[in-house]
């Protein structure tokens, strides 16, 4: 197959990039591993408050529908159930659906493979019934199946607490949030208040010493402030956080950098969202773990850059659009975490000399202290 633009990943970043690119007359293919588009939006029932101004505040599931539906009349080919498995010598990308492998020749590629959840480990973490917090959310909100009756959550970031709330709303008995630190990591007051009112015990300075059971998890022992407590539990949700998915970038020979605040190792990229391998762009959580607003904006920046390099937008127009998008990204991302945006600028500066010139307006706008 041949195309102007190949997008790897049909989550929010991939879908939004496809829309922006195809709206500029770019022939686009989106490859997605799953049986339906939307990525992690498919199970997000919480209201998204940090979206770019072009989107109304809404929940993930409806945003997913919007992002998919508006591709209908555009020149976008969707290859669902197809996974990028590698590359050919001549740079073509191989995707497979389990029955055959198709080489795709693309002028430009945007990789939006997102992030993966990390794991806390303890004896017994491999038992059925122990899963990532994201998996529990998928089972509950996308599959409409109760993942367990009596649950604990290990870790207390905002996402873990939010899913904890959703578990309770669906009738699961949440018997504790286990946090290793001496305070909660998450800071959304509303969610914390909900959990408190629901009577969920918060165990700080605590960790799981063991999960056990015959065939599946039945019992968990936690260490709380040095003393052990046994709990009858059939669902253990691990909420450690996210890290960018790196595999496609390594296969595409992209250089990596380490930025703790963006989730660890990730591909280097410029203010165009182009990686060290020419014509390979990155967007979304793969470019650093962030909120949904920034995920969509990085996708738009990448798509504009692709449009520019394919001659569908003139340099001036593209530059101005990118500056506006970076400004909005700055505001949306720093509202959540200043450190993330700083990390992003640091990453780009280490890769590209003229970041400050590229983002001139942003830096002139009293933001300069970055």
């Amino acid at each position: 197959m041949e195309t102007d633009l190949l997008i790897i990943g049909g989550g929010p970043a991939g879908l939004h990039a496809a829309y922006v690119a195809a709206s500029n007359g770019i022939k686009t293919i989106v490859v997605d591993e799953s049986f339906s588009l939307g990525g992690q939006l498919r199970q997000q029932t919480q209201r998204l408050t940090n979206l770019p101004k072009q989107f109304d505040s809404q929940i993930g599931i409806t945003l997913m529908q919007t992002l998919v539906e508006r591709l209908t009349d555009l020149d976008v080919t969707i290859l669902s159930k197809h996974t990028m498995i590698g590359t050919y010598k001549d740079g073509r990308i191989g995707v497979s659906n389990g029955q055959r492998t198709i080489p795709i020749s693309a002028e430009k590629v945007i990789v939006t493979t997102g992030a993966a959840e990390e794991a806390f480990v303890f004896p017994g973490w491999t038992l059925p019934g122990v899963m990532t917090i994201g998996a529990a959310q998928i089972v509950m909100n996308r599959e409409h199946v109760i993942p367990g009756k009596n649950a604990i959550i290990i870790g207390s970031n905002d996402f873990a607490l939010e899913v904890g709330k959703q578990l309770i709303e669906n009738g699961v008995s949440l018997q504790g949030v286990i946090e290793n630190e001496d305070q909660l990591i998450g800071c959304k007051e509303e969610t914390i208040q909900f959990l408190k009112e629901a009577g969920v015990p918060i165990y700080q300075n605590s960790y799981v010493t063991q999960a056990s059971g015959a065939g599946e998890v039945e019992k968990v022992i936690i260490n709380h402030n040095g003393s052990e407590k046994e709990m009858e539990i059939d669902l253990v949700c691990i909420g450690k956080g996210l890290t960018p998915i790196l595999e496609p970038f390594e296969i595409l020979s992209c250089d990596f950098a380490y930025e703790k605040d963006l989730g660890g190792w990730l591909p280097q990229y410029s203010t165009l969202m182009e990686t060290s391998t020419a014509s390979i762009y990155v967007a979304g959580n793969a470019a650093g773990i962030t909120n949904l607003g920034a995920i969509l904006l990085t996708a738009e920046i990448a798509a504009i850059s692709v449009a520019e390099s394919l001659g569908r937008q003139c340099k001036e127009e593209a530059t101005e659009k990118r500056e506006l998008l970076w400004q909005e990204l700055y505001h949306l991302e720093s509202a959540d975490s200043k450190a993330k945006f700083h990390g992003r600028i640091k990453l780009m500066r280490e890769f590209q000399d003229n970041v400050d010139i590229q983002l001139s307006k942003l830096f002139n706008m009293s933001v300069g202290g970055v």
Binding site: G86, T87, G94
Partner: protein
């Protein structure tokens, strides 16, 4: 003052670590092995690890391979279980017209004592029912087998360490000088001195040779290998092109590309190799490939091992060859004889570096 050793070996792959281990068996010498990375990070860790004899030609080369394969059971008694299995080797052919050259091969190899059976299609399928009914026949020899390369190198090193061999890892050699007959080896971490120096750095020997002022005439050849998920027992023999490891994984691959030190895999070769896999073993179609890897092999310009003294530099030696896994027990033994007694128990003249007409030394 830099620490001085009797012998410094550069390269801790299967060849370097075998030489160090065999040398250390006498116990008299102070030995150091230097590696730019960690054992198994290079060629020895990215191989199918056949101990393969029967169609190594010319026949004197087959004979060396056979002698080495015969040493493996004794080696295991000394260093431990390296999962050496003399499975027998099958090299299938698909056209009846190949039978004649198979018979010629058998005749030639018989002269040096390598026993080869030229099998009919039915005989092959009886031995190895999973092979494709489309094959015409195969050459077969009992002497072939395979080994776990990870265990092999690890156990060579463990045994060498027990004999007080020193190892310096993650430590590239930057420069080599000679001062009053003593080698002065500058590495990233420190400077070592050595009375005798052995270059055993596989495909990287060319670069190390340059530091010493010698051109080692070798090429780098990339081989890509596919690994299946562990499968229930499927094949018993080492088949030219694939083998099944102890844990059930089937390793498949027989590609060659001259692309320097580039160790990336490509879907072009992966797909070609998959095709070969099902041509040989149709049942493999259902198996999942979980990973592919590429190794940079070293191939001397004329294909044969380069082993022995470096003619223009006293006390400098080289041991570089394509089939390091097959030959490592023999090479370790022979190099030990050479370094200690100055001569070898088997004739190694054909392996000398100065057999190459273009042999160059800048010294």
């Amino acid at each position: 003052m830099a620490k001085q050793y009797d012998v410094v070996v550069i390269g801790s792959g299967v060849v370097g670590s075998s030489i160090a281990f065999h040398l250390s068996e006498g116990g008299q010498k102070e030995i150091l092995v230097i590696d730019k990375d960690y054992p198994l990070s290079g060629t020895s860790g990215s191989t199918q690890a056949w101990v393969w004899v029967h169609n190594k030609t010319p026949s004197w080369y087959g004979e060396l391979s056979m002698l080495s394969a015969e040493l493996y059971p004794f080696l295991e008694r000394k260093i431990g279980d390296v999962e050496y299995k003399r499975t027998g080797g099958i090299a299938p052919f698909f056209n009846e017209s190949d039978r004649e050259s198979a018979l010629r091969l058998a005749e030639k190899q018989a002269e040096v004592g390598i026993e080869i059976d030229v099998l009919t299609r039915d005989q092959v399928l009886e031995k190895e029912p999973a092979l494709s009914p489309n094959i015409a026949g195969a050459t077969f020899s009992k002497i072939d087998g395979n080994v776990n390369p990870f265990r092999l190198v690890e156990l060579y090193i463990r045994a060498a360490k027990k004999n007080r061999v020193q190892f310096s890892f993650y430590n590239p050699v930057i420069d080599i000088k000679r001062d009053k007959g003593i080698f002065e080896i500058t590495t990233k971490k420190e400077v070592f001195r050595a009375k005798q120096l052995v270059l055993a750095a596989g495909p990287w020997t060319k670069g190390v040779g340059k530091l010493l002022g010698v051109d080692i005439p070798v090429k780098q050849v990339r081989g890509q290998i596919l690994v299946t998920e562990p499968l229930a027992p499927l094949i018993k023999h080492t088949i030219g092109g694939m083998r099944q490891a102890d844990n059930g994984e089937v390793l498949i691959g027989y590609s060659k590309e001259e692309v320097g030190y580039d160790r990336r895999t490509t879907l072009d070769v992966i797909q070609d190799t998959a095709k070969m896999a099902v041509e040989y073993l149709p049942d493999l179609a259902k198996a999942n490939i979980v990973r592919c890897f590429a190794g940079v092999r070293v191939i001397p310009n004329d294909g044969q091992p380069i082993l022995g003294e470096i003619p223009t530099i006293d006390n400098a030696y080289v041991a570089v060859m394509h089939s390091g896994i097959t030959l490592s027990p023999l090479v370790g033994t022979v190099m030990t004889e050479l370094l200690i007694q100055g001569e070898t128990s088997i004739d190694c003249d054909k392996l000398r570096l100065d057999r190459f007409s273009e042999f160059k030394s800048y010294v």
